[in-house]
């Protein structure tokens, strides 16, 4: 294979490097931090930067970029039929057909890039925010990075599950040790809720293995995405159940109403960089799982339940936005806005069209950049003003002009202002939704049409604009609340860089949507062909 780095006799693929570099660096991060506290953060910065560079390199290889020699170009022949490229496969547990296999396609590559980017930014954002126990903190971040990236690059269900679970433990500690007032409760709530959901997902994974064993006969069951995507699972009652189990695992992670209760709690209590990763990446794991399973593995089963996904998405959008109106804590407001925005991902998937898929993916990436920005701002404001309560922040623009300006920018981006990243996702998803002919809910004889859903869904968009504007009106403008006398604007280089990076990409993706859309063309087209 041309896509290998070699270290002497050892040949290591680029995806393995991206996947395992952070976890291997976790212990050294802690170790250098024992020498001097600051070393750990610079070390983590270097490693996450390295991972980012490697991810960009993988992107260039994926694109067969002319910057690279032809020998490093990826094999793109199988992409159109739902295959992967830059594939690495090693037999792991032969007895039940588990392999260590990694690969990327148009669906996972943008998320890998996003993960590399958000971790880099999160490390930067931690510089001013995290003061106690830095070595352990940065080691946890590195562990977390392996889990998140592993979820995206795994092409074997067990590796996927392992990476998915690997995320829980460091996140549990991040919330529990470096979190806010009620951190202990929030951490344990987060862990139990999501771990139970993962176990339900594990049942689904075992179910899909069983069904594949039934279909493949003497070849045995398989966990490999490549093999599973070639099989025709149909819509038998068992496979529908399997799909529901997987769906449950994903929508808890997304999270969708009514399984969203862990999210506001975890967000409010998590340290700011933790919130950024939680909103920017952990939620995307749920979306990714949903897209992967519905588009690649079980399209027929997904088509049966499109109405369910659409309704859950719609309710999440409406409920999340509605509840966000009433939030007092700014972090809590952004958390509920995440519930609402991730609802759009579900709506996009439910339409089963390339446009819907593109909208869902665009939302994943756009929200993955905007929500870390919003959480960073909320955290910075909380740090400097000693409160995140919206009523108490009246007129803080006079004290923190730059933060206030960026807050306005971020709010507009999140509300979907044209020209900023959030706009395209909502546009694509709603265009797809308007065109969706809908589905009759089995057993009830009620049909949901795309037009109907879209009409109601637009209300959610209006709420979104409303809560952001109302929040801005109550905080940024007006006379300064006297309690904010001590507040000061951001002043550290790492903070400027964090904001600059995030804003830059919000603008870039807003002005040049084709950058992202072109990257995932093969995946978009394949998704469309699955439902014809």
């Amino acid at each position: 294979m041309v896509t290998l780095f070699s270290f002497g006799d050892l040949e290591i693929g680029i995806l393995t490097l991206i996947f395992l570099l952070p976890i291997l660096a976790a212990f050294p991060t802690w170790l250098v931090g024992r020498i001097r506290n600051e070393f750990s953060k610079y070390f983590a910065l270097i490693i996450s930067g390295l991972v980012m560079i490697l991810a960009v390199f993988a992107w260039l290889m994926f694109e067969n970029s002319s910057f690279l020699p032809a020998s490093l170009h990826a094999d793109r022949t199988t992409l159109a039929s739902g295959g992967f490229t830059l594939v690495e496969e090693i037999v792991w547990i032969d007895a039940v057909g588990m392999n260590y296999s990694l690969g990327i396609d148009g669906l996972s590559l943008p998320l890998v890039l996003l993960a590399g980017f958000i971790f880099l930014v999160a490390v930067l954002a931690s510089f001013k925010d995290i003061e106690n126990r830095q070595p352990a903190y940065y080691a946890m971040l590195m562990l977390l990075e392996t889990g998140v990236i592993g979820t995206f690059v795994a092409t074997d269900f067990i590796i996927f599950y392992i990476a998915w679970e690997l995320v829980l433990v460091p996140m549990f500690f991040l919330i529990g040790i470096w979190g806010g007032e009620k951190r202990e409760y929030a951490a344990i709530y987060f862990f139990i809720y999501t771990h139970v959901a993962s176990l339900v997902m594990l049942l689904g994974i075992i179910g899909i293995w069983l069904e594949s064993a039934n279909i493949r006969g003497t070849l045995g069951g398989s966990f490999s995405f490549n093999i599973l995507s070639q099989l025709d699972f149909g819509t038998g009652p068992f496979i529908l159940l399997v799909f529901l189990a997987l769906l449950f695992g994903f929508i808890v992670k997304v999270p969708s109403v009514p399984f969203h209760t862990w999210l506001p709690l975890a967000h409010v209590e998590a340290p700011t960089p933790g919130s950024m990763i939680l909103a920017g990446l952990l939620l995307k794991m749920g979306g990714y799982g949903l897209l992967r399973v519905s588009g690649w593995l079980l399209p027929e089963a997904m088509a049966e339940f499109a109405w369910l996904i659409a309704i859950i998405g719609l309710i999440s959008l409406l409920y999340g936005s509605w509840v966000a109106l009433r939030q007092v804590d700014m972090k809590s407001l952004v958390a509920y806005s995440s519930v609402g925005h991730m609802g759009i991902v579900l709506l996009g998937v439910a339409t089963q069209t390339p446009e819907g898929f593109a909208g869902a993916m665009y939302m994943q990436i756009a929200h993955g950049i905007i929500s870390p920005l919003m959480f960073f701002l909320a955290g910075t404001i909380g740090h400097s003003a000693h409160t995140r309560d919206i009523p108490k922040l009246k007129g803080f623009a006079k004290k923190m002009p730059l933060t206030a300006g960026v807050l306005v920018f971020g709010s507009f981006a999140s509300a979907g202002l044209p020209g900023l990243a959030g706009f395209w996702s909502e546009l694509l998803a709603f265009v797809a939704l308007f065109n969706w002919e809908g589905q009759v809910i089995p057993g009830l004889n009620i049909g949901v049409t795309g037009l109907f859903l879209a009409m109601i869904g637009v209300l959610g968009i209006i709420f979104t604009a409303a809560y952001y504007l109302w929040m801005l009106q109550r905080t940024v403008f007006g006379d300064v609340n006297p309690e904010l006398e001590h507040a000061h604007d951001i002043s550290h280089l790492s903070q400027y860089l964090t904001i600059a990076f995030l804003c830059f990409f919000v603008l870039l993706l807003g002005i040049f949507p084709s950058l992202l859309l072109d990257l995932m063309t093969t995946a978009t087209n394949f998704f469309g062909t699955q439902f014809i």
């Binding site: 037999v91 792991w92 547990i93 032969d94 007895a95 039940v96 067990i158 599950y161 392992i162 679970e165 690997l166 829980l168 433990v169 549990f172 500690f173 529990g176 040790i177 951190r183 202990e184 951490a187 344990i188 862990f191 139990i192 771990h195 139970v196 176990l199 594990l202 049942l203 075992i206 293995w209 069983l210 064993a213 039934n214 006969g217 003497t218 070849l219 045995g220 069951g221």
Partner: protein
């Protein structure tokens, strides 16, 4: 070259070590050597086992005229990979328990006897795994159990120890009686004590009499006590709590494994014809055992009791595999695999016995250190352990996460294989119940992790309420550090590179079924 001395090398090495220990005891000097000698002896025995993995099945003591004959077709002992797998587990347990005893038992008198008893018990357990005859099995069983009763009563100055030792002894004696009665009934049916004869005789029988059933029941009850399956579990919790903690480790990791080894040899290996009956019973026991273990563990306030219930729950997971041995593989699972569903079930159970032993070694060793350091075994006193002993908290977290089944640790792999064993045997509902139980178990494990790592130490919460002597810093002795580090390392290694262990377990399962 199969000299009988080479084959029995592990036993001879341990016997030699016992002799050395007793001699040192008799001389009365150099007591500090005892632990180290035991460790070296067990390392040597472990080495001699690992070098012989994969060789042919050898029957010993089958030829009455020449006891050194190693070519007999049948014999009292069978030296195969199944025995080697379990011997590896037993010796690992011996190794870790001996190491942690160096400090734990350091102030005791007659230490040589203590180590000798540990090793005698280990030899008994190894013989159980190797036995190929009803009577050999029973005698080995007693050899494995009797020293354990003495060990449980070792610190007789502690009142709770005497109570729990007595309980342990009474229950143990009763279960032995059950087993002996079952064995005698089988002897009555078959007329001979060799396992091969039992297998052929049972295979020929077409209609089973109540006598067959009665024999099986007696055996099940007898073994059920040893592996602490519900409803025979009640003793385990009290005994685990009351005995000296090193011995608790020995019981939870070693003695329980012996119970499973005996079940495999006698019930799975020899009474395979009755599988329709014991399959259902094991499935029932599995559901009861894991559910009760997990649910009751939720409300425990004492860490040793919690770990005891967790141990019961894990026995339940293991029983899933036993039920799976009896299950009829679904016809759709006609894969081109190199093993049968039965072999896979046995292999997965063996692997889980190994990983469970390792996890419990870590957990109980941490309990020992904490009990020394804070004079408490209450779960709530684990609050803020990280501040006092960060590495201890780390090791305990790994062990608990592995018990919970979080990847990529050993507990995840072995538990997953157990569930797959159920699936291969077309017992999907059992796998589902197993996963639901895993979900229940999260609550009590994560609670301890949260207390250790996230919560503040009690001393910081209310300074005045705590006597000052409880806060005295305590540096962890080297022996505990080595035990915890070694076992944690094994947990991680087995979790990431399980293949050699799985292959070994599969081979040993094949040997158990005589192929």
């Amino acid at each position: 070259m199969s000299d009988i001395a080479t084959i029995l090398m592990p036993f001879l090495v341990i016997f030699g070590t016992i002799g050395l220990c007793l001699v040192i005891e008799a001389i009365g000097r150099g007591k500090w050597l005892l632990g180290i000698i035991t460790i070296l002896g067990s390392l040597l025995a472990l080495f001699s086992i690992t070098t012989s993995i994969g060789s042919d099945i050898i029957h010993l003591f089958g030829n009455p005229s020449d006891i050194t004959d190693v070519t007999a077709a049948s014999g009292l002992l069978v030296i195969d990979d199944f025995y080697k797998f379990f011997a590896m587990i037993f010796i690992l347990v011996l190794l870790f328990v001996a190491a942690s005893s160096i400090d734990y038992m350091g102030s005791e008198k007659t230490l040589g006897v203590y180590y000798a008893l540990l090793m005698f018990s280990t030899i008994g357990m190894m013989l159980v795994a190797a036995s190929n005859d009803l009577l050999t099995l029973f005698i080995s069983w007693e050899l494995g159990s009797l020293p354990a009763y003495a060990l449980a009563a070792y610190q007789k100055s502690r009142p709770e120890t005497s109570e729990s030792a007595l309980k342990f002894f009474l229950i143990g004696a009763m279960s032995s009686a059950f087993i002996l009665f079952g064995i005698s009934l089988i002897y009555g049916i078959v007329g001979t004590t060799s396992f091969e004869a039992v297998i052929t005789e049972f295979a020929l029988t077409t209609n089973y009499t109540p006598l067959h059933l009665l024999a099986l029941m007696f055996l099940l009850v007898g073994f059920g006590y040893k592996i602490a399956a519900v409803p025979f579990h009640a003793w385990a919790v009290d005994v685990y709590q009351g005995t000296p903690t090193t011995i608790t480790t020995f019981l939870a990791a070693g003695s329980k494994a012996m119970g499973f080894a005996a079940v495999f040899r006698l019930i799975v290996g020899s009474l395979i014809e009755l599988d329709a009956i014991w399959g259902i019973l094991f499935a029932l026991l599995a559901v009861l055992t894991m559910t009760l273990g997990n649910v009751v563990a939720l409300v425990q306030e004492n860490i040793k009791r919690m770990l005891a219930y967790s141990s019961i729950a894990h026995a339940g997971y293991l029983l899933i595999a036993l039920a799976a041995v009896a299950g009829t593989p679904s016809p759709s699972f006609d894969f081109n695999l190199s093993f049968t569903a039965q072999e896979f079930a046995v292999a997965s159970a063996e692997l889980h016995v190994l990983t469970h032993a390792l996890m419990k070694i870590v957990a109980f060793t941490v309990v020992i250190v904490v009990a020394y350091s804070f004079k408490s075994e209450r779960i709530s006193d684990y609050a803020g352990l990280r501040k006092k002993h960060p590495w201890l908290a780390f090791g305990m977290s790994i062990a608990l996460l592995s018990l919970m089944g979080v990847p990529p640790l050993a507990g995840f792999v072995s538990k997953l294989l157990l569930f797959f064993a159920a699936i291969y045997a077309d017992l999907i509902w059992l796998a589902v119940i197993g996963i639901i139980n895993s979900a229940i178990s999260i609550f009590y494990y994560i609670r301890v992790i949260k207390l250790m790592i996230i919560d503040k130490p009690i001393e910081e919460e209310a300074v005045s309420a705590v006597p000052v002597d409880r806060v005295t810093p305590f540096s962890i002795p080297l022996s505990y550090q080595v035990v915890i580090a070694g076992a944690v390392l094994l947990i991680i290694v087995i979790g990431i590179f399980p293949t050699p262990f799985i292959d070994f377990a599969l081979n040993s399962a094949k040997h158990l079924f005589g192929s």
